[in-house]
Subunit: 335 residues, 2 copies
DNA sequence: CTGTTAGCGCTTTCAT
DNA sequence: ATGAAAGCGCTAACAG
């Protein structure tokens, strides 16, 4: 593979000039530039990432840390990040951290510290103070999506407000017996996404003096289905379910059908996400524009890289209620 | 951030010794090794990827090229790749190539050639001879999943056999009027995954003298739904549908319901993939174990890196019919 | 505008 | 078993 001095020789200039011509940094006469470009083109020369990175300190790559690759929300956000990064010529290095603590340590203490990336974006990774500090110590911009983290630049939807919005929607339809399906909060920080959604739910229910019933699940269709089955089979079944994700909401719809209940006539169901599948289930949801989140996070990271101030505190992301019919007025006879 | 000479100083040895101790290559006395390890640990030292890569020619990263990030099959294969790579301490660099030809060129001619990766895995990327040659010229192992490519090491299921298996399953149930929903083959190479599935279908139908009806769609739920609606609304609607992906098959099930048809009583439907959602639709499918494909591809790439012979021709991946009830005997009155 | 010359932070002979 | 020193392939002063 051709190196920079092959190009220099062919263009009849020094390697320094080649570097300047190719990078666009530093003065080069138009004539030389053209010769260099032509020579590079002919030789199929591309700058070596390692050499360039070592010399400049820039890697032209950003790291993305995700807990799952094969769940809709994460792959969708990732797609958004990728879009934004490709546009700017950056590569993306993927760090998938599983639940295994040893592996997680390796990612944080080894892989992320190899100085291979110019910035990092984390997607819904709940970090303790040590991990946050570790990211900070990388000396590169860090943008976190999901779950406000006072120690980092964060881009997040106001999940408490999301919880309120969904709950208020149900209350406005006359529902008073509502079950919230979400992640078991004891294993999550109080500021985590699931915890905030639940808080929004609880405070809204409290405000009208209604019971804030909770049923834990694991953010999958299966988990949502199981949780919905439990709550709908109880002594005093809810007239509505607010699931903290669309996947769980879809599981709830499937469970309701299984139990012979009509949606929304017998039970209203609302989710959160804007999952593409929701359309096919007529699922009412609070859309959070996942792909856009990814793009914005990537752009924020690059902006900070270009010297912009780290986003002031937390950037707030939009969300929106999308009514597709899986929620409706409570059946008065069941209230 | 600490560098290698910080560690050397602290351990009271030369940088050469530090390098040897940390990499495990070359002789180091146990005592010194321990001192070095301790010093590195205390300083939180991690080898710089750029410097190491420049010196050794190894980047400890593999590139993964995908056409989509946010579709089930791709994100699932990617998850499998990630699992295998993380185990071995490799980073993964993601190259998402969209339909835009200019962007595609940039990925192939620039990004992939930055010498940032020790191997590349492509997932269902159809490449022409030039692109294949370009990958070869990288001088690193290349493993391609999906679509036999004589120019590259390929890991692929026998999609023609998959097409036959699905079709034979329907024929065994008595179906003679079957529509195949797949990608418009005119825009795909004859050896592409969709083309081979269709070929398996066509030859099997031909063998029993039945019409091989085809309806094009784009591998999404929406596309499958539209295609199914068209074929089921025709003059002589099929008694069975074989969709080339589970997403399209699910779309077909939804379309059938919409038309008031029962599955499988009125129309049998079979897909291909093993999509997790299939369970919830009782979808019969030919599972191709996507996650396992990713792991095997990554392992093959690493093996080749370690000097193993490039996989002999093509590696063949397993597949299996999973009957979940969306196919059944043809209604004799409709035959 | 262009060339010369130090590095960037490691790894790897080659000596010792 | 260890150290000195020469690169790996580029970039960034610094001269000119």
């Amino acid at each position: 593979m051709a190196g920079i001095d092959d190009v220099a020789r062919r263009a009849g200039v020094s390697t320094a000039t080649v570097s300047r011509a190719l990078s666009g940094r530093g003065p080069v006469s138009t004539a030389t530039r053209d010769r260099v470009l032509a020579a590079a083109e002919e030789l199929g020369y591309v700058v070596s990432a390692a050499a360039s990175s070592l010399a400049t300190g820039r890697a032209r790559a950003v790291g993305v840390v995700v807990p799952f690759l094969d769940r809709w929300f994460f792959s969708t956000v990732l797609a958004g990040i990728s879009d934004a990064l490709v546009r700017e010529g950056y590569d993306i290095t993927l760090y998938s951290v599983s639940a295994d603590p040893a592996e997680r340590r390796r990612v944080f203490e080894d892989h992320l510290r190899r100085r291979r990336i110019d910035a990092v974006v984390t997607i819904a990774i709940e970090m303790d103070a040590a991990e946050s500090a570790l990211l900070r110590s990388l000396g590169v911009p860090v943008v976190s999506i999901g779950g406000p983290n006072p120690l980092l630049t964060t881009l997040t939807v106001d999940d408490r407000a999301v919880g309120r919005l969904a709950t208020e929607h149900l209350i406005a339809l006359g529902h008073r017996r509502v079950t919230h399906i979400g992640a078991d909060t004891t294993t999550n920080a109080a500021s985590s996404v699931p915890a905030l959604r639940r808080l929004g739910f609880t405070e809204t229910m409290d405000a009208i003096g209604a019971d804030a019933v909770f049923e834990p699940a694991d953010f999958t269709i299966e988990g949502g289905s199981a949780a919905a089955t439990r709550t709908l089979s109880g002594d005093v079944p809810p007239t509505a379910i607010f699931a903290a994700s669309d996947e769980m909401a879809i599981g709830a719809i499937l469970a309701a059908r299984e139990l012979g209940l009509r949606v929304p006539a017998d039970v209203s169901i609302i989710g959160v996400d804007g999952h593409e599948l929701g359309r096919w289930f007529g699922l009412t949801t609070v859309d959070q524009f996942a792909r856009g989140q990814g793009e914005r996070a990537a752009e924020a990271a690059l902006a900070e890289l270009d010297g912009a101030d780290p986003a002031p505190g937390l950037g707030t992301l939009p969300f929106e209620l999308v009514d597709r019919g899986s929620t409706g007025p409570v059946d008065v006879s069941r209230r």
